[in-house]
Symmetry: C2
Subunit: 351 residues, 2 copies
């Protein structure tokens, strides 16, 4: 792994977070970079632990003030506030962190560096404001062939926030554990915070999305396998453009479809039911067919709403329905999905 | 039509333009706003006429200097220079126009207002630098139903630069000529220069593309028909994200597919053949099916490379192959395509 964007001693700001999904950044950092997190800052939950709040991160304490957090280098905004804007109540905390010389790290669309008060305070104290979504991508995709020997895998989804990033990280780790030189390519702010590199693709100017993704692959294709983090889904009424640019920009050999069992409609859009998995697969394969023709080779089931027994039933049902390997990477491990990736690699070598 | 972005007395800067397609902005403005154009500035072609250079625009003169152009309000950059950047050789012309008090209008990705020398000169002279692609779109699509009585038509394409904008303008004009309250919704810089409103969708941050298109429709749905200008194509390896966001953002009732006869491969990508029209239609209808399920109802043939006789043969061939009305809006008029739009409107009223 390259140098992470989050060095040691990070305080996660999750003040007032209610709905667990709003804390996706926090929970993913707790899962994959727990050793960097010294405390969670949320005065409404002080005294509890990371495990209590996010179901991961063990005994990392939830504290009410920066003083209680102890020495730290970074304050990282760990939840997406409503409307994507920094609430007034957070401003004193951010300014206090700056005055302690802490770097502020944010993945929001609203940039810290566009806020005159934060900028002035950071300049006075010599502190960095790091906006992970900031980018200056201006290259149209070149569409030249990638390195033949690098296998490109893309995670795709039935909806937003189903676990594409977690699946991608687990696949890359699992492949490395089997001795394969695999690299996770982050395409969202949380993935970038975990991996230390990548491109915040939903913040790229639309004309350059395909090109920005292609550039990520070109820079990493010396690896044997790249696992590209998908975003949203090409069937999504709000974000489909991001997803299709990603698909065509990395032109995957194989895709892993990720979904959450028991979700009836698009998140936040109760009037728009989710399309069936088979239809999502058809759409992805049809559109992939305008480039290299990659296929869906496995399904990652997010079964967090199910009991262990229910998850097994669901897994078996989808396996039969789609004729593909199915696993919840967290609950079942990603072994079956890694087998599918390695089988694809073997078929391509044989071809 | 609302207030045009280009007032009267415009000089079109096309200095050194070679390939006709690089002059798409110039040729479309000459076609639809000829009465605003006083001269074309191209020292390499001085003495010729708009018709000589662009096949439209009549006797509008091509001149070598601003002096020869006579009094004018605007200097409009009419060609896309290689790399999208303003060439060094244009800088003195732009600065001279500013010093005369002319507004500078540009549709390039590189903004005039990011150029310190232009900004300083414009400030001194009290002149506006208008970057048509500049926008601050930050809204995710709301995905609430549109006004039921407004028919939404989208032009889609087999490739870039096939004539989606011209087809859209011709459809809206033709509908108005038949007494229908139709409105062209521009989604690219040239369309915006012609119509005076719209959104430069390929310059919008990818997360907000669907929302920006939806907002355009919401603002115009008091019309009986809106004709939304498509961009690129969802099958395009470089720009597909833009195109899909556009499709889902406006959720059309019907689509008109535009293509150029005799084009073998994607423009600028000689190693990537164009997909067959039938496959493009299938892909668009499949993806539209995740929203309202609009269908392709007609085909606009761009036959500029063909003789009149060849164009008739091609028209008949595609008509038979696809079972859809086919017409070159410039050569044959858009009557048949307008009939298709009106038939769709009638079917919806009947339904």
């Amino acid at each position: 792994m390259s140098t992470p964007a989050t060095p040691h001693r990070t305080v996660l700001l999750t003040e007032g977070h209610g709905e667990p999904l709003a804390g996706k950044t926090a929970s993913c950092l707790l899962r994959y970079r727990a050793s960097d997190i010294v405390a969670i800052l949320d005065s409404t939950q002080a005294g509890r632990t990371a495990d209590d709040l996010f179901g991961t991160g063990g005994t990392i304490p939830v504290v009410a003030t920066l003083d209680e957090a102890g020495p730290a280098d970074d304050l990282l905004i760990g939840i997406a506030p409503p409307g994507g804007r920094i609430p007034q109540t957070w401003r004193p905390v951010i300014l206090a962190a700056i005055s302690r010389g802490m770097r502020i790290v944010s993945g929001l669309h609203e940039f810290l560096a566009d806020d005159p008060e934060f900028v002035a305070a950071a300049r006075d104290r010599g502190v960095e404001l790091r906006d992970v979504r900031r980018n200056d991508e201006r290259d149209v995709a070149k569409c030249q062939p990638f390195r033949e020997e690098c296998l490109r895998i893309l995670t795709v989804g039935q909806d937003i926030s189903v676990g594409k990033m977690v699946t991608s990280v687990e696949l890359a780790r699992g492949l490395r554990a089997r001795g394969v030189d695999a690299k996770f390519i982050a395409t969202g702010q949380t993935g970038i915070m975990i991996e230390g590199d990548g491109c915040p693709i939903d913040r790229v100017i639309s004309d350059f999305v395909n090109g920005a993704v292609e550039k990520q692959v070109l820079a990493r294709q010396h690896h044997e396998v790249v696992v590209v983090e998908g975003q949203a889904t090409i069937t999504h009424p709000q974000y489909s453009g991001v997803s299709l640019g990603l698909l065509h920009g990395c032109d995957p050999h194989g895709m892993i479809l990720v979904y959450e069992a028991g979700r009836p409609h698009h998140m936040g859009l109760p009037h728009i039911p989710l399309p069936e998995l088979g239809r999502v697969i058809e759409a992805y394969e049809a559109l992939a067919g305008f480039r290299g023709g990659g296929r869906v080779i496995g399904v990652a089931l997010n079964s967090r709403r199910l009991s262990a027994a229910e998850a097994d039933v669901e897994r078996e049902r989808v396996r039969r329905e789609l004729g593909l390997p199915v696993a919840d990477p967290i609950r079942h491990g990603s072994g079956e999905l890694i087998d599918a990736v390695l089988a694809l690699a073997a078929r391509r070598r044989g071809a």
